[in-house]
């Protein structure tokens, strides 16, 4: 490998490690767990080693010192406290700068001194500790064994205490999980106290080989039901090396560990099918396992996933886009052939159509597979906010915990890339306006630490992302005051939920009394909505005074393909995204009016909606000029509705979107194009953009 390619590999690898490190450091602060400390140590150790090979000498030297400090943390010589996490985060920022930008010598000197003098720890001491431990256990992989022990009822008669055997067993390592099975224990008055009834399932982490475990059961294994299963592959990298790693579901992981039984998992799955709740939540609710065990399984599931990711090949998204475009071309050619088949004589046409049906099935499957490749979990996007929440909350002297749920929820890479900024803005708002200070919370009878929850889930072919805070909720009175001030409502008018949302998402609408560093300039929520609608999504807001606010974003699974309604105006075909359509109707003459300042409107279910004559809007010919002779498709964007007048509805179809360059049109009412089966181009209507154009 050339020097450059070594460097490239390191640059790519370090990016990933630094991302994990940041998430782990935040986790360390929240939950100072030994496993997290070990993981952080290993990450820093990897960066140290790789940076040395890739020629980043300063990074090597600095991470070596950090490693010493972390080793002292690992050996409990330095306590895990906020100052330590601050220093480590700052240090990681410097490492990232040194790798990807330029090393700031002054800053490094400052951090070097801080690292060396941290607490009572001295760099020299660290060197010694490091030398002693580095070659011992740091890199030695542990073994994991699942032990099931069921003793015969008469075992006490032989003078054997099963408890003693099990205590011997667990002294060989650490118990990752233990479950006692009480099923066979009778009621107190029915039991024979000299009989053995309890059974165990134990997940043991140990550096000893299996043989040692067998020895613990040496005198009982023949006439008792003892099983020892090596499940190391579920936990370590060895299976990856063997190429046999498998992604597992949380339920499966818990069953494999003996935390829950297969019957319990079946019960949980049937409840999940009915309620759509998360497996982990159901398991805890039913009392099959505690939250800690579920969280541990989720953590392991993520680790397994990240190991799987490590075995995959990186492919540029551009290449996938090209692949998808090519597939789009195939679909178009297929439609052309289908049209030709219609024109052929009966038998030939029939045979060709049959062949096309088969091909259609394959192309659909092909399309689904490509779409699946583009789907990535939202977890890493959520995780990047841990640091953000921590730092921003510190700045405003609030205590806030970030709770992440549904990390495994997958959505299109393009959507994920574009959702990050709106999310950041909403989280910032929640920190600044939503969550109260610890004192305010205590006064309100709440815990001093506020919670912001990021939640993602799939439902009805869409992805939902929620930003939930348990803060003070929206100040309706202030919003109403502001709306009156801006002339949006009259002084005596009350506001309903729909208006409340509409106002909050208006440009420049802010109720903040002071413009702060964070938010309060009234710039943002309108941009958030625009960005989300550009992704063909919607955003809703729910709030309860004193209890908090939930912002729910609904997004399509992918941006590359839409379900569209084909409509015809004269000789032109347009596509309206199906998700935006409320209904289509043929209006009666009396339902159309012209309102001063609003133009032509159509009465639909007691509500006047602006009427857009598509032929006028785009300056084209049409079959009809009277709306009551034509059809109107009512569409919705946010809380606004408009009626689009068209000559006819052609039908609905899956559309592969082609982007339109700006030189073709500057109209906000068009978002792209699609090539139809006969080779003609149909333009896709951007409902949000069209509503915006009508409003202005």
């Amino acid at each position: 490998m050339s020097e450059n390619s070594i460097r490239d590999v390191f640059l790519e690898e370090a990016k990933e490690i630094l991302r994990h490190l940041e998430a782990d450091l935040i986790q360390l602060e929240e939950n100072p767990d030994d496993e997290v400390v070990h993981r952080i140590f290993r990450y820093v150790h990897t960066i140290k080693g790789s940076s040395g090979i890739a020629g980043f000498d300063e990074v090597y030297e600095f991470t070596h010192r950090l490693e010493n400090l972390l080793d002292a943390v690992r050996n409990k010589k330095v306590p895990v406290e906020k100052a330590l996490v601050d220093l480590l985060l700052e240090s990681m920022d410097w490492v990232a700068e040194a790798i990807y930008e330029h090393a700031n010598a002054e800053r490094k000197k400052f951090l070097d001194e801080k690292v060396a003098s941290f607490g009572s720890f001295s760099a020299k001491e660290g060197e010694a500790v490091l030398a002693r431990t580095e070659n011992v256990q740091a890199e030695k992989p542990a073994n994991y064994f699942l032990v099931r022990a069921s003793f015969k009822p008469t075992i006490f008669e032989n003078g054997i205490d099963p408890l003693l055997i099990l205590e011997d067993l667990v002294s060989l390592g650490s118990v990752e999980h233990r479950r006692v099975h009480f099923d066979k224990l009778p009621a107190l008055r029915d039991m024979d106290p000299e009989k053995c009834y309890l059974e165990w399932t134990i997940l043991l982490k140990t550096f000893h080989p299996r043989q040692k475990l067998d020895e613990a059961f040496l005198f009982v294994k023949d006439d008792n039901d003892i099983s020892i299963e090596d499940v190391t592959n579920d936990f370590t990298d060895s299976e990856r090396r063997a190429g046999g790693i498998q992604e597992r579901k949380v339920g499966e992981i818990l069953v494999r560990r003996g935390v829950i039984t297969e019957e319990e998992l079946d019960t949980v799955l049937s409840i999940q099918r009915e309620t759509n709740k998360k497996i982990g939540d159901i398991i805890v609710e039913k009392g099959f396992a505690d939250e800690k065990a579920v969280q541990q399984a989720l953590g392991d599931q993520n680790r397994i996933k990240s190991r799987i990711q490590a075995t995959t090949v990186r492919v540029e998204t551009k290449k996938l886009d090209t692949l998808l475009n090519l597939l789009g071309e195939i679909v178009i050619s297929q439609s052309s052939i289908a049209r030709m088949a219609e024109e052929l004589e009966e038998e030939q046409g029939y045979r060709l159509k049959n062949a096309l049906y088969g091909m259609d099935r394959i192309t659909r499957e092909f399309q689904e597979q490509i779409m699946a490749i583009r789907m990535i979990p939202i977890g890493p996007t959520f995780e990047q906010f841990r640091r953000f929440v921590r730092d921003v909350a510190d700045d405003v002297h609030k205590e806030i915990r970030l709770d992440i749920r549904g990390s495994e929820t997958e959505l299109d890479k393009t959507v994920i890339e574009q959702i990050s900024d709106p999310l950041k803005h909403m989280i910032r708002n929640a920190i600044d306006h939503g969550i109260e200070t610890p004192q305010e919370r205590q006064k309100a009878g709440k815990k001093p630490v506020g919670t912001i929850t990021l939640n993602a889930y799939h439902q009805e072919g869409n992805v939902f992302i929620e930003i939930i805070d348990d803060g003070r909720g929206l100040d309706r009175a202030a919003i109403r005051r502001k709306a009156v001030e801006r002339g949006l409502i009259k002084g005596d008018e009350e506001i309903n939920d729909r208006q409340l949302q509409e106002f909050l998402f208006m440009p420049g609408f802010s109720t903040a009394e002071q413009v702060g560093e964070l938010s309060g300039r009234g710039v943002g929520m309108d941009v958030v909505r625009t960005n989300i609608e550009a992704l063909r999504g919607t955003v809703e807001l729910f709030s309860e005074p004193g209890k908090g606010t939930t912002i729910r974003i609904k997004l399509p699974l992918t941006l590359a393909i839409i379900e569209g309604m084909l409509v015809r105006v004269g000789k032109n075909v347009y596509i309206i995204p199906l998700l935006s359509i409320v209904e289509s109707l043929q209006p009666v003459r009396d339902s159309i009016k012209t309102v001063e300042g609003k133009g032509e409107v159509l009465l639909v279910r007691d509500e006047y909606v602006p009427l857009v004559r598509l032929y006028q809007h785009f300056g084209i010919d049409s079959d009809f000029t009277n709306p009551w002779e034509a059809l109107v498709v009512v569409v919705e964007s946010g809380t606004s509705r408009i009626g689009i007048m068209v000559d006819d509805l052609v039908g609905q179809q899956q559309i592969v979107i082609k982007s339109l360059d700006n030189f073709i049109t500057k109209s906000r009412a068009l978002s792209g194009a699609a090539i139809m089966g006969d080779g003609t181009v149909a333009l896709i209507i951007d409902v949000h953009g069209m509503v915006g154009e009508i409003a202005t």
Binding site: F156, D161, P162, L163, L164, L166, E167, V170, R178, V180, F182, L185, P186, A187, L188, R189, M191, P193, E194, C196, Y197, L198
Partner: protein, 87 residues
């Protein structure tokens, strides 16, 4: 309050007596039971099994069971047998 003091050498050998004593305590009218482990360094599974069954029955009868004077070894053993919750 019913108080049961366990002997230092409580084990399967003395579990029948303990079983009877616990049954008595479960059936009496007291709504609280204290089991004193102060003298016990360690016990065996037979002891913890009767304790578990007793705790289960007390829960049904809405009686409170309190463990007194348990050493760290005994507490660990209780956790291992599912009598006390693991942290």
């Amino acid at each position: 309050m019913a108080a049961i003091v366990l002997p230092e050498d409580v084990s399967v050998k003395k579990v029948k007596a303990l079983h009877a004593e616990l049954l008595n305590a479960v059936d009496n009218d007291e709504n609280e039971m204290v089991i004193d482990f102060s003298a016990v360094k360690r016990a065996d599974l037979a002891v913890y099994q009767v304790l578990l069954a007793c705790a289960r029955e007390c829960r049904e009868k809405k009686k409170v069971v309190k463990i007194k004077g348990a050493s760290s070894t005994v507490k660990e053993q209780m956790k291992f047998c599912g009598i006390l919750r693991s942290n």
